[in-house]
């Protein structure tokens, strides 16, 4: 049963740039998918189509069976959590409040505008924080945390939504190798234990191979590879990472070195 269904989606930006040139794919519930590709391939745009941060200019996107459109944008977003490369926390607010923003869609907005939350929301936030191992930092200001910790807050925020899907847009690109490892393991664990579907954008091939059930390779707005990590060979990597103009691609060499 596919929880995310993309049918012939295209995305052309107002400046004329075609980021997605016709993609159809289904993401199975409970799976861990990694979207791999060079920068500019359209990975970010594809991910953002899945929670409505980008609207396709052609085709359609379906989440948990519903077509994503203006009317159900908020409702759908509440079921889809997102983790960002730059963490995107509100720096001045405490860790707890940041996590609580995950509950906003579930609350009637009148109370939330006054920063009022129900006790059950606080409990959900506590749970989420415990899950990512940050209970002791609950009352710290978000900007006082390290990069890895901030990303964990981002994940806690997504978890607080009690989502069906978690999307992660280059979650470890701004982190050191140790923190990157921790974050990927946390995401994998969330997928395995809680059955949440996880879709991650990465450009690091080694991480993709280690953590993914399925790898979707993208290049220039199209899917050029779709398979298991074991099917990822130097040849297939070449199709993902190739660029027409450049004969010798250091990106490619690096990727191949890890293959």
């Amino acid at each position: 049963m596919s929880i995310i269904s993309i049918k012939s989606a295209t995305k052309r930006f107002p400046n004329g740039f075609e980021a997605i040139k016709g993609i159809s794919t289904d993401i199975a519930a409970g799976s861990f998918t990694v979207i791999l590709g060079p920068s500019g391939a359209g990975k970010s745009t594809l991910l953002r189509l899945m929670n409505g941060l980008e609207i396709p200019t052609g085709g359609s996107v379906h989440i948990t069976g519903e077509t994503l459109g203006k009317s159900n944008l908020r409702k759908t977003r509440s079921r889809v959590g997102m983790v960002f490369q730059q963490f995107n926390l509100v720096e001045r607010l405490s860790v707890v409040t940041n996590v609580l923003t995950g509950r906003l869609a579930h609350r009637s907005w009148l109370g939330s505008v006054f920063y009022l939350f129900r006790n059950e929301d606080m409990e959900i936030a506590q749970e989420a924080l415990a899950r990512v191992g940050l209970t002791d930092k609950a009352w710290s200001r978000a900007d006082k945390l390290s990069g890895g910790q901030q990303q964990r807050v981002g994940i806690a925020r997504a978890l607080a939504q009690r989502p069906k899907v978690i999307l992660a847009d280059e979650p470890v690109a701004s982190l050191d190798p140790v923190s990157s490892e921790e974050i990927m393991m946390l995401l994998r664990e969330i997928c395995d234990r809680d059955g949440i579907t996880v879709v991650v954008n990465l450009h690091q091939v080694d991480l993709a191979k280690r953590f993914a059930d399925r790898i979707i390779g993208m290049n220039s707005g199209r899917v050029v590879f779709d398979g298991t990590p074991s099917e990822l060979s130097p040849l297939t990597l070449q199709t993902i990472y190739k660029r027409d103009e450049i004969e010798n691609d250091t990106n490619l060499d690096l990727a191949l070195a890890y293959a």
């Binding site: 405490s94 609580l100 920063y115 939350f117 606080m122 936030a125 009352w139």
Partner: protein
Amino acid sequence: MTPILIWRWPTRNGLPPLPAIASVVTVLVAMWLTASLVEVDLARLIGSLGKMAAFAGNMFVMPDWKYLPQLLGKMLETIEMTFLATAIALLVSLPLGLLAARNATPHLIVYRLVRDLLSLMRAMPELVWALVFVSAVGLGPLPGVMALAFVTVGFMGKFFAETIEVVDQKQVEGVTAHGAGWFQVRMFGMLPQALPDFVGTVMYILDHNLRAATVLGLVGAGGIGYDLVMSMRLFQYDRLLPIAVSIYLVVTLLDRLSDQLRSRIIHGAQAKI
């Protein structure tokens, strides 16, 4: 975290943070205490809505076309006052700003004196100074220009002083190391660093001064202010609307211009020196 009620704030004790409560309470108490001083009266406010509507209705009459040339003349005068006063003020505040900057002043006493002088100059609104200067030099645009320039020097002087105080010392040292004299160090080491902020601030000052200049006429210091008040007092609605509209147009025009200029500056320009 023991649950107190069903709802709570995201803090350790469930109540809003102390600074937030303290400031809100202070303001509310102050307002409650001063309500009578300000003669706040909801009934009076609501009762006046009718009058306001009537007033608005009265304003929309056929403009007095014969008055237009005088209106344009007065508006031009207002604009000229603004520019002249600002230009004079800029000239005067440059050296004053240097003297009022801790790292550029020749002596600490000079620094303190000039700082306090600048503080006094900008303390009072232009209209008060205009009153004083009208008393001194008579009616006309001159006291208006003086008043505007006076207050602007107070502001610009402080601005220059503060900008000079945060200049990058390394650049100053570089210039000094090449044997620059006292004046040259300030001219070539300090002032160029102050310039980028400068344009934005000048635009802001022009904007502020134009608005101030429109009312100086109230006390006889030139500009459209006199006509404005008189037309209200004499119920000359056929003049009031054109006056209000022209003030609105000129102020808005300058506002948009300054926005445009500021965004151009932010997006960079060729170095001219």
